[in-house]
């Protein structure tokens, strides 16, 4: 269609160019987002107040932001671990749900005795890893697209959750589909600032651990190679298949752990919305953080802030919560569209080629 314009894949992209493109993309995304908010009825003057002050600079707001960010950090780690290997894990929500379910089961059936909490968290990680195992194996052994399978299993997990909440896990004392509230030994300790809890520590430890493995351990080294160039990695003698499987399982475990942290730390019970939007949150944070583990907490913080702001925007300005989703979508779309400038070189021919 655009005959005069030729696209050529760039042989190499300098770091400067990449960084510049990223910054410009972010700037455009931010502008569009602010525009959407204004169009939705937020007075321009209130933007700073709502988006910055209330969310980050007030004690209550900060507490809410940190609480929301905690599981997001883990979901983003899940996304990043998989994305680095070019494994599109669209089922983070499902893995999270399975993690939450297993943690809840441990709580409800009083498994583990004195080690209840650690067992809950371990179980949640296990749940997530198991739920991603099937798509991983199907992809690595049989070449089946992980996009569809992780998606399908995510839906299955949600339906299973519904089944449990309206059935065996349901709290019969009221009509809402939630599990009974956990016992004290099944709750993660609170810091005393709002709902912030030791789940934050867990998330940050996970970040540190993954960063450590990635950059300071042999396994991480191999994983970096395998993700960047599987052929070269094979030729070097790395056991690429095993490395990829372990990384993907670790990603699933992170997602499951996010579920565990939500039920044990924030909600203290299992609800229908435990995994709401978490696949998307994880992917967008990982994309913005460019899959770098150490960047993830920072980006999570801001994305969480957006969610917290939206709640308050709803109350004070009647702005629908859908606005946050729109904004997140715009940010992601802008980011991937701008990748074009890093990947391709555009030449406009003066005459038809050849």
């Amino acid at each position: 269609m655009f005959e005069r314009v030729t696209l050529e894949r760039r042989a190499e992209t300098g770091a400067l160019r990449s960084a510049l493109v990223y910054v410009i993309a972010l700037a455009v995304a931010t502008t569009l987002s602010l525009g959407v908010m204004i169009a939705a009825g937020v007075p321009t003057g209130a933007l700073f107040e709502e988006l910055v002050v209330q969310v980050f600079l007030s004690e209550a707001g900060l507490a809410r932001t940190v609480t929301m960010a905690t599981p997001m950090i883990l979901a983003a780690l899940a996304a990043a671990l998989c994305l680095r290997l070019k494994f599109w894990n669209i089922g983070i929500e499902g893995q999270l749900i399975m993690g939450a379910i297993l943690a809840t089961a441990v709580a409800l059936y009083d498994i583990g005795g004195a080690a209840r909490l650690p067992v809950m968290l371990l179980a949640s990680a296990l749940g997530g890893a198991l739920w991603v195992a099937a798509p991983a194996i199907l992809k690595l052994r049989f070449g089946v697209s992980e996009v569809i399978v992780t998606l399908l299993l995510s839906n299955v997990a949600f339906l299973f959750l519904q089944h449990l909440l309206f059935g065996p896990f349901g709290d019969t004392s009221h009509n809402f589909p939630t599990s009974p509230v956990f016992d004290e030994t099944e709750k993660l300790a609170r810091f005393g600032y709002g709902d912030t809890n030791t789940g934050l520590i867990i998330a940050l430890v996970a970040v540190a651990a993954i960063a450590l493995v990635t950059h300071r351990m042999r396994f991480g080294f191999a994983a970096r190679f395998a993700g960047d160039n599987a052929r070269a990695s094979e030729a070097l003698g790395f056991n690429t298949g095993r490395i990829m499987l372990i990384s993907i399982l670790a990603g699933g475990a992170m997602a499951g752990l996010a579920g565990g942290v939500i039920v044990a730390g924030t909600e203290h019970r299992l609800t229908q919305v435990v995994g709401l939007n978490m696949t998307f949150n994880g992917i967008i944070i990982a994309a913005l953080a460019r899959n770098a583990p150490l960047m993830i907490p920072i980006v999570s913080f801001f994305i969480a802030g957006l969610s917290v702001a939206s709640a308050s925007l709803k109350v004070f300005y009647g702005v629908s919560e859908g606005i946050v989703l729109i904004i997140q979508g715009i940010i992601l779309l802008t980011l991937v569209t701008f990748q074009f400038a890093s990947t391709y070189r555009v030449t406009i021919a003066r005459q038809r080629p050849a």
Partner: protein, 308 residues
């Protein structure tokens, strides 16, 4: 038993139609090589728009049409990103879901929870509808059901028996060869995505205007994701999509029927069947080395002429 069957079969087409339409739309996109994960969001926008216009007094036909157009409109940024800017299709599609779900929630607030009179079934003589088993199935359906089946047949004809269909499929399989044969890859992709978005939009609008005749958030309820599975289950053939939509829609339709009987039904496990069936089908297909790959060869990838 007969009553049960009659009621179930009677409600089946209503569940089949939106799935079929959305899947047909996806088929066009995927046959052109584009994986459009945004279905769920597009359907939401179309459902909301259809409801708004139905509430505003426009006839159901017009409301559905406008809903479909809204679906196309919301898909345009995705189209431009993926076709012109070669953006990776998976995150772009997810972004479209978010934008679609968010927009439908935000803009549909005023229209939410307000029932309206939507699309009615075609009127046949009463005694026809009272025939056992098939009475309601055949004679108590709206014209969109018939349209969806017709469109499936048309899609088959268009894709496999016309020149343009051949060129379209060539793009999804091997854009380099198609390009060498003189096919304008980007033009056809735009065309396919437009048609695709329109069909997906029709499916979404049907949900509100013909189905529940009301708009509520979350009413798409995963049917967009099911359509993605359906396309794989149907191995990218429109007529098989009918079969898949009947199967998946039938499972969906079973649930209220069983509940009406007062049966203790594992509702959620029933709802899982479309997903489990598709996973099963995928497994079988991948294990059988004899089946040649039905998936469009270049699905999900971005094509640039220089890569030739």
């Amino acid at each position: 038993m007969i009553e049960f069957l009659t009621a179930w079969l009677g409600s089946l087409p209503g569940f089949m139609a939106p799935l079929l339409l959305a899947s047909l739309g996806l088929l066009f996109c995927e046959r052109a090589g584009v994986l459009n994960l945004g279905v769920e969001g597009v359907m939401a926008v179309s459902a909301m728009t259809g409801a708004i216009f139905a509430l505003g007094g426009y006839g159901p036909g017009v409301a559905i049409l406008l809903g479909a157009l809204a679906g196309v409109a919301v898909s345009i940024p995705f189209m431009i990103a993926v076709i012109v800017f070669r953006a990776p299709q998976i995150p772009a599609g997810l972004a479209l879901v978010a934008i679609g779900l968010g927009a439908s929630e935000a803009m549909g607030r005023d229209a939410a929870h307000k029932p309206f009179l939507g699309l009615q079934p075609i009127l046949w003589p009463e005694w026809l509808t009272e025939l056992p088993i098939v009475g309601r199935l055949l004679f108590e359906q709206d014209w969109m059901v018939i349209l969806s089946l017709t469109l499936a047949v048309l899609a088959t004809w268009g894709m496999f028996y016309t020149r343009h269909g051949l060129r379209l499929r060539a793009i999804g399989e091997d854009p380099a060869t198609a390009d060498a044969a003189g096919v304008d890859v980007q033009l056809y992709q735009f065309g396919a995505l437009m048609i695709g978005a329109a069909l997906i939009g029709l499916g979404g609008a049907y949900l509100s205007v013909a189905g529940s005749q009301i708009w509520t958030e979350g009413m798409v309820a995963g049917r967009g994701w099911i359509s993605l599975a359906l396309v794989v289950f149907a191995q990218w053939m429109p007529v098989r999509a009918i079969f898949g939509a009947v199967l998946f829609g039938g499972a969906e339709a079973l649930i209220p029927r069983l509940q009406a009987q007062g049966l203790e039904v594992p509702v959620y496990f029933l709802s899982m069947t479309p997903y489990l069936l598709t996973i099963g089908a995928l497994l079988l297909i991948s294990l059988s080395t004899r089946t040649s790959q039905a998936e469009p060869g270049f699905l999900g990838r971005s094509y640039t002429r220089q890569d030739r």
